[in-house]
């Protein structure tokens, strides 16, 4: 049987999953944590604690600041020291809650035992409510609030739930370890999301470089089938290893053979995609009352002596994590948050981890050296590699010229910033840099236009209503 994968573009970077043998390990609690108020896509959360408050592990620190927002919980117990701006990993200011750690006292309603809870709640709405209260966001990288994703807009139905276990980024192994060591929890989490969405089918998609995980999850799914009707309809699918398989739209293409249109959402083609770690977080939030206060982080790199897959409390300073494993190695020239393809180079090691932090990667100068930039030779490799069917060489030129209309016409907003174009360019042109800058600018213009259109429509509606009101009702003088 042919190995299944997505249809256009993609590249094959070296696997480099050198930390795949390292078991998940709990990192000791740091003396101080800095919990950011904006750890998700959408409006920042509004703090509900004040300086000097005593907090426990799992206590709500901040409430959603809008429809598209999420709860933020304390990951430690201690005293709130300050609420204010602090430099994040790119050096920009971000609002954080600083907590000085005292002991490790948890909220009473959190079930900290290891026993599996396989009985699911009856009401799908109750599941979504618990996910919302648990502050669960998508842990695949985009940190999209999960409760919003699980409430499809009226008129749209979900046909299939896809659990993303691809982990197509080189080096990262935290999803793999989660599948191996917490497979049962992931499958129960899958059943929970499936029930919340009211779909019959769920697919756990795993790339075929993780055969142990595929085998293990198959066993777990079989063993859980007897626990109830909710556990039927879950299947495991092996996909061909190719980057960026874990991209939402690529995964839907690979699993369902359906393409999400430009500007569309997965729900438009009847799919909802969630990451493996999100499924685990859903299990913990719904069955154990444990909000999203920690996540698994891969710390790796050829030059890093001590590979590890750590479970880290949200808000732990990065240098605390690194010091625990022996400090920054001499040979390291670049530290990346995330994987080598989509991760962000860290400018400030004092920054703290967030819900979406998945990896810390150390690369040497040799590994990060950029090729000197030369002229585009029109080989078309970037266009071949682009999984979204864009023309990166053209977008690069348009971005340099600052032609926003042409950029929008050429769908720069569809770019998923996977970096395949930059990876494949033989001329060393920093395609991703210029395109991602243009993408941000175009998306800003599109948002402003949408907001203006909405405001104009509302004003027209109000004016029409006012006109109707004045003609319909007699004037009193």
């Amino acid at each position: 049987m042919a190995r299944r994968t997505f249809s256009i573009g993609g590249v094959h970077p070296a696997d480099s999953k050198i930390s795949r043998g390292c078991k998940l390990e709990y990192l000791p609690i740091p003396p101080t944590v800095y919990i950011a108020l904006s750890q998700h896509i959408g409006a920042p959360a509004k703090p509900v604690v004040t300086v000097g408050d005593k907090v426990k592990v799992g206590q709500v620190l901040a409430e959603p600041g809008g429809f598209m927002s999420a709860y933020i919980h304390s990951s430690v117990s201690g005293t709130v020291k300050s609420i204010g701006p602090r430099k994040d990993l790119s050096g920009n200011n971000q609002m954080v809650v600083e907590i000085a750690v005292e002991g490790d006292e948890w909220m009473e309603n959190i079930d900290r035992s290891d026993t599996l809870v396989t009985d699911l709640p009856e009401d799908p709405k109750a599941i979504i409510e618990k996910i919302k209260l648990g502050g669960v966001v998508g842990l695949g990288g985009a940190t999209f609030p999960t409760h919003v994703k699980l409430s499809p807009p009226p008129g749209k139905t979900c046909e299939m739930l896809i659990i993303n276990g691809c982990e197509c980024e080189p080096y990262l192994t935290s999803d793999f370890r989660t599948l191996l060591e917490k497979g049962e929890q992931v499958v129960i989490g899958t059943a929970l999301i499936k029930k919340a969405l009211g779909v019959a089918k769920a697919t756990i998609a795993i790339e075929d470089n993780k055969l142990e995980a595929i085998e293990h999850i198959n066993k777990v799914v079989d063993s859980l089938k007897s626990k109830g009707p909710e556990y039927s309809g879950i299947e495991v699918l092996s996909l061909m290893k190719k980057y960026p398989e874990g991209g939402e739209k690529q995964l839907i293409d690979a699993v369902m053979h359906r393409q999400v249109k430009s500007g569309g959402l997965p729900i438009d083609v009847g799919a909802v995609v969630d990451n493996v770690c999100t499924a685990l977080a859903v299990y913990e939030a719904v069955q154990k009352n444990k909000p999203l206060i920690d996540n698994s982080v891969t710390v790796t790199g050829e030059c890093f002596p001590k590979q590890a897959n750590l479970i880290v409390r949200v808000g732990t300073p990065l240098n605390y994590v690194i010091d625990y494993l022996g400090g920054v190695p001499e040979a390291a020239a670049k530290v990346i948050s995330g994987g080598p393809m989509m991760g962000k180079a860290i400018a400030n090691l004092e920054a703290a981890t967030m819900k979406g932090t998945g990896g810390l990667l150390f690369l040497t100068r040799e590994q990060t050296k950029r090729m000197p930039e030369s002229n585009c030779i029109r080989c078309g490799k970037c266009a071949d590699a682009c999984p979204m069917g864009l023309e990166p060489f053209l977008l690069n030129r348009l971005s340099k010229a600052g032609d926003m209309d042409a950029l929008e016409a050429n769908a720069v907003q569809d770019c998923i910033m996977c970096g395949c174009c930059l990876y494949s360019c033989p001329a060393g042109i920093p395609l991703l840099d210029t395109i991602s800058q243009a993408r941000g600018q175009v998306m800003g213009i599109m948002r402003a236009r949408a907001a203006a259109a909405k405001a104009a429509a509302e004003a027209a509606k109000a004016a029409a209503e006012a006109a109707n009101g004045s003609t319909g009702s007699p004037t009193v003088k």
């Binding site: 920009n92 200011n93 990060t368």
Partner: protein, 315 residues
């Protein structure tokens, strides 16, 4: 033979006449009457088509100026008052003279003063660099040094100083068209009044962080201490978001703020004499001392009657 030649000449000439007549009639029928003043105004313009006035070019400016009821919304920063006087003469309008402006770079984070904390190896463009991270120094507000402003300047008035890593404005060439202001993603460059004989005072920093972290990032930064705004007797300095700003409309160029600034973030340029900081400091301190004493005396006076009253009621 001759008849053929005559016939040919006659037919070609006739055809030519006929076509000429057709063209003439069509031209008359579809004639676009353009105000002749547009051309006159355009000729009076500098012709750089830089867009500094906010219009697409000099023709678009002329077209709009002729149609406008007055010249309040039309000003050519490149040609300045002279050009505008000519334009006003052609159109018979009055103009309000504007003080000449100049682009000012409000960052003094030189390589010595602002240590580099990381190495940037991405695309050499401020726009791209700003979209990726805060910059390769501890200051997330300062100049990124990739020279987007230099590329945007159509008059060759900007250049990068390799020693400081900061852009330098050539005041003679700068026309205050504002292209660099738009190009800078960090909003460091500002158009300010050129000032009498080019003299002006400005705060050469835009860092909005709190004092200690600013000081750590850059030795030349404004730390938002507020000494300048307390010193200024012309109410020209505003302290907002931990950074001072001098209003160039109110500034009287007394240079007191410059002398008092503890970090040297306030710059005075084109003054004929170098600043005598100690003399100015002594003067300001003397004045402040007197003011304090006067305030204390006033407070005592206000208290005394009350005390007397109290004593009376007690007695």
């Amino acid at each position: 033979m001759t008849t053929t030649i005559i016939w040919t000449i006659a037919i070609i000439s006739g055809l030519g006449l006929l076509l000429a007549l057709t063209l003439y009639l069509v031209a008359q029928r579809f004639k676009v009457v353009e105000d002749p003043r547009i051309e006159l105004v355009e000729k009076a313009m500098p012709g750089a088509n830089c867009g500094g006035c906010g219009f697409a070019g000099c023709h678009a400016f002329a077209d709009s100026a002729v149609k406008a009821p007055n010249l309040d919304n039309h000003y050519c920063p490149v040609g300045g008052n002279e050009t505008m006087k000519k334009v006003a003469e052609i159109l018979g309008y009055e103009i309000k003279e504007k003080a000449p402006m100049v682009a000012v770079v409000r960052c003094n984070g030189t390589c010595d003063a602002r240590p580099r904390t990381s190495e940037y190896d991405g695309s050499i463009s401020c726009k791209v660099k700003a979209s990726l991270y805060a910059g390769d120094t501890g200051c997330s507000f300062g100049c990124l040094g990739c020279g987007d402003c230099v590329a945007a300047c159509k008059f060759g008035a900007l250049s990068m100083n390799p020693q400081t890593g900061l852009p330098v404005v050539d005041e003679e060439k700068c026309t205050a068209c504002g292209a660099c202001v738009k190009a800078c993603p960090k909003a460091i460059i500002e158009l300010r009044k050129k000032g009498p004989r080019g003299m002006r005072e400005y705060v050469c920093c835009v860092n909005k962080d709190k004092g200690p972290s600013v000081k750590k990032a850059c030795a030349n930064a404004c730390i938002g201490c507020g000494i300048c705004s307390k010193t200024c007797t012309h109410d020209a300095i505003v302290l907002e978001n931990n950074v001072a700003y001098i209003d160039f409309e109110k500034c009287k160029l007394c240079r007191e703020c410059e002398a008092m600034c503890p970090t040297g973030a306030i710059h005075g340029v084109n003054f004929p004499k170098p600043i005598d900081k100690d003399a100015i400091k002594a003067r300001v301190q003397e004045r402040q001392k007197k003011a304090r004493e006067a305030a204390a005396a006033a407070a005592r006076q206000a208290q005394e009657p009350e005390q007397i009253k109290k004593e009376e009621s007690n007695g």
